[in-house]
Symmetry: C2
Subunit: 451 residues, 2 copies
C-alpha cells in the first residue's frame, strides 16, 4: 500500500492528550465564568458568505482570510467572532431580547505568516453585551470583574486589567486641536511601552506633524501614573475644557467606583491612559489584560465599548461592550511558561480496573458500579501481564488502580491502589465507590462527573 | 452607508439562544458520558492538507469535500473525525499509550445537496478505542453501554441499540460460496427494511447473479428474529461449517453476555442480523441505534469494530472500535419531534437583579454575593421602568427576579420573586444565596456553576 506521511499544517495547534485535557479544563472554566454572569452561548457557522463576512471590508486582515469557491458560492472562513455576532444580531433583531448577552467560544482562521506562538487556526472566547439603541455604563463596569474571575480561576495571580476610556482620549486630542489626527496619534501612543517616549515624540512631530508643544503635552498626559484615585485626581485637572473628555472621565470614574462591589481587588486593576486599542470601532471603556511577569506577550484579554455593532447590516443602532480571549495563544503562553496549574487533573480516568482473571464479569460489574457514582472508570481490557497493566496505569496517570484477582473476587472485594502514595488496601465492593470518591475529594481538584 | 442583507448559507445550522442552550446541554451530557468511560478529549484542526486527508480517497464523499488553495497549499476541510484520528494516531504513535481511548466532538463539512434535516456543517461526537496490534473483544462489549448512557441521559426512553457482527456475515456468505460478492450482498441486505424482501431477492438474483437457492438461504437467515438468546440459539444451528462465522457468533455472544453487567437493559438492545454498515472498513461488531417511534430517521448512533485504522499512514496494525453520533442531525430530529426534555433549563441566568434606585452599588454587591455561591446572575442595567424590567425577566425565562428598591436597601434585604409561581418574599441579603440555591435545587434541573 502506498503511504502518505501524516502531518498537520504549519500554524495549526494540535495537542497531546494530557495537554488537550488541560485545554479542556481552561475552556470549561471560561465557559463557567461567562455563564455565571448570565451570558448565553451562541454558535455560528465557521463558513459564511464572503459578501456578508466582508461587508465591512477585512482591512488589514483581508489578505489573511481563507476565501474560496464551492459550486458558484463565494465562501470565507470567519476571522473573528465579532462580525458573525453583528450578522446574527442584525438578522435576528426582532426575536432577540436586549440587552443581549452572548458568549461564544470557537475557532477562527487567519492565514498569518506562521511563527512561534502565532496560529492560523485559533480559538477565541468572546463575550458581548448588545443594547438596543442604548446601553448603560454599568455594563462597562462589570467587564473587569469577569476578566478577574476568569484569570483567577485559571490559577493565575499576577495579572493586571488595564483600563482606559476612548472618549477621554478623543476629548483630550480635541482640546489640543488635533481631533483629525487622533486615530493616528492613538496608534502611535499605543506603542509607548514598546518604543519609548523619544521615538513616540519623533513620530508625532515627524510623520504626524503634531506641533512640538502638543507632543510634549501628549507625553505629559500619558505619563500620569499612580493609584486609580490619583490618576482620576490628575484627570480632574483637565476638567471643564471639553465635554467629551469630561464624559470620558466620568465614565472611567464609574468603572473604578464599582470595582470593589464587583469583587475586583485594586491590585489587579489599573487605569492606564496609554491604552487605546487600535480599532476606530471603540468609543468608550477599553480593556487590556497583562501578565505581570510577562509583559512581552502583550494583552491576553482585550476589548471595549463600541457604539455601532452592525451598521453594515442594519440601520438599528446597536451599541455594545465586549472582550475577547485569544485562547489558543493564551494556552501556548501559559504552557510555554509553565503557568498551568498542576491542580488541573489531566488523567482520562479516575480509576483503572485491572482484571486478573479470565472471566472479566466482576470487573465489568465494578466499572458499572463506579460509573453510577460518577467516577470516571476505565477497564484494562487486554490480556497482558500484571506488570504491563500497571505500566499502563502509570502512563495514563490515573490516581487509582482497582485490582480484581481471584482472592478479591472470592471475598467480594477489590484491592484499591493509590497510584500516588503506592498504598494498597482491600475494600468490599459495595464500599468501593464511597471510598474512592472520598479519596478523590480529599486529593482535591478531581471532581466526579455529575449524573 | 451601503448595507448588506445579513444571511447564512443553506445547509448551515444556527440556533436561537434558547435552542442553543439546549444544544449545549446535549453536548455537555455526551461529553460527560464519554469522560465517565475514561475517554480523553482530542481536538484536531478543521483544515488538513488535502494529500493527507484524502490519502484513502474520499470515495462517494470526495465531490462533497470543501477543498481549496491558500498560497500554494492544497487544503481540505475535514469531512469526518475518523480520518483525522487515523492521521493523529499514526503521527503520534510513539508517544501514545495503547489502548488509546479518545473522544472528539467537532464540526465536519460535506457539501451535500441541502435538504430539510441535512446539513453541510455538522457536529460529530465520536469515541474510538485504538489498540496496538490487537484489541480485546471487551471493548466491543462496552460500547452498547456507552450508547445506552448517552441516550438515557438525554431523556430518551424509547430507543434500541441494534448489533451484529461482520465476521458472522462474512463467514455466512463464505459458507454459501459467495465470499467475492459479500460486500455487494451486504449493501443490498442493508436495504431490507426499506425496500422489503422481494426487491432484495430481485437485486440479489438479478444484478448480483446470486443463485436462487442461495438468495432464499440469505433471506431465511436474515429473517431470524426474537430475543437475543433465541437469535443466538438459531445461529448455533449454523455452527461448525465456517471458522470465521463461528468466531463471529462467539464474539456476538460475548457482547450479549456482558450487557447486563454493563447495565444495559435487554429491551434497549437487539441482535439484528440485517445490520451490516456500508463500509468495508468494519470487521467485527457493528452498531446502529434506532429511535423506536421514528424508524424513518434511521440510525442516530452507529459504528463498529475495524482492523486497520491507519494503513494509509503507517505500517503499524491499529485495530479499533468506535461510534459516531451525528449531533447536528440528532438535535434537528429531537427538536423537530419535540423530544427534547423540558427539564433541560435554557435561561441564561438563574437570577436577574432589578435595581430600582439610581445608586446601583447594592445591586452589584448582591450580584457578587450570588455569583460567589455559583448562582448565575445578571444585573438589569438599563434605566427603564419597572414594567419593562419585569418584561425582560419574563422573556429571558429566568426562574428568579431579585428586586432592590429603597425599602429593601434600607432594610438590608432583597425581594425575591419566583417567576414561575409569582410568589414574592423579602429576605435579608446575607440569606439570599442559600434561599435561592435551595429553591433552584428544589425546582430541579438547575445546577449552580461550580466555583
Amino acid at each position: 500500500m502506498e503511504r502518505v506521511k501524516p502531518h498537520i499544517l504549519p500554524g495549526f495547534m494540535e495537542l497531546t492528550p494530557s495537554r488537550q485535557a488541560l485545554m479542556e479544563k481552561i475552556m470549561e472554566t471560561i465557559r463557567q465564568v461567562y455563564a455565571l454572569y448570565g451570558f448565553t452561548p451562541l454558535d455560528t457557522p465557521v463558513i459564511e458568505a464572503s459578501d456578508v463576512l466582508l461587508a465591512k471590508g477585512g482591512g488589514e486582515t483581508e489578505k489573511q482570510i481563507y476565501r474560496f469557491s464551492k459550486g458558484d458560492s463565494d465562501l470565507s472562513l470567519r476571522f473573528d467572532l465579532t462580525v458573525p455576532l453583528a450578522r446574527y444580531v442584525a438578522m435576528n433583531y426582532a426575536s432577540l431580547t436586549f440587552p443581549f448577552r452572548r458568549y461564544q467560544i470557537g475557532k477562527v482562521y487567519r492565514g498569518e505568516r506562521p511563527q512561534r506562538g502565532r496560529f492560523r487556526e485559533f480559538y477565541q472566547a468572546d463575550i458581548d453585551v448588545i443594547g438596543d439603541g442604548s446601553l448603560d455604563i454599568m455594563n462597562e463596569a462589570e467587564i473587569p470583574s469577569i476578566i478577574y474571575q476568569v484569570f483567577t480561576r485559571l490559577g493565575l495571580t499576577r495579572f493586571v486589567i488595564r483600563v482606559n476610556n476612548r472618549k477621554l482620549l478623543t476629548g483630550f486630542y480635541d482640546m489640543l486641536g488635533l481631533a483629525d489626527k487622533s486615530a493616528d496619534i492613538m496608534r502611535t501612543v499605543d506603542k509607548l511601552e514598546k518604543i519609548g517616549p523619544d521615538k513616540v515624540r519623533d513620530i508625532l512631530c515627524g510623520d504626524l506633524a503634531v506641533p512640538e508643544d502638543s507632543a510634549r503635552q501628549i507625553l505629559d498626559f500619558m505619563s500620569i501614573r499612580g493609584s486609580n484615585d490619583s490618576v482620576l485626581a490628575a484627570l480632574a485637572g483637565y476638567a471643564g475644557r471639553n465635554p467629551t473628555f469630561d464624559l470620558g472621565v466620568r465614565e472611567l470614574g464609574t468603572v473604578v467606583t464599582y470595582l470593589k462591589d464587583f469583587g475586583v481587588p485594586e491590585d489587579h486593576f489599573a487605569v492606564d491612559l496609554t491604552i487605546a486599542r487600535g480599532l476606530d470601532y471603540y468609543t468608550g471603556t477599553v480593556y487590556e489584560t497583562q501578565l505581570t511577569d510577562y509583559p512581552e506577550v502583550g494583552s491576553v484579554c482585550s476589548g471595549g465599548r463600541y457604539d455601532d455593532l452592525a451598521g453594515f447590516y442594519t440601520d438599528k443602532k446597536l451599541p455594545g461592550v465586549g472582550i475577547s480571549i485569544g485562547l489558543t495563544r493564551l494556552f501556548f503562553i501559559l504552557d510555554d511558561r509553565c503557568l498551568l496549574s498542576d491542580r488541573l487533573v489531566t488523567a482520562p480516568a479516575d480509576v483503572l480496573i485491572l482484571p486478573m482473571t479470565e472471566d472479566t464479569a466482576p470487573a465489568v460489574r465494578l466499572a458499572t458500579l463506579l460509573r453510577e457514582s460518577g467516577i470516571r472508570t476505565q477497564i484494562y481490557t487486554e490480556p497482558k501481564k500484571f506488570k504491563a497493566k500497571m505500566t499502563y496505569a502509570g502512563r495514563l496517570g490515573v490516581p487509582f488502580a482497582a485490582i480484581l484477582g481471584e482472592d478479591e473476587i472470592a471475598a467480594g472485594a477489590v484491592s484499591v491502589k493509590d497510584m500516588t502514595t503506592g498504598v494498597q488496601e482491600t475494600v468490599a465492593v459495595p464500599d468501593a465507590p464511597a471510598r474512592i470518591l472520598a479519596a478523590l475529594s480529599a486529593s482535591g481538584g478531581i471532581r466526579p462527573v455529575k449524573g
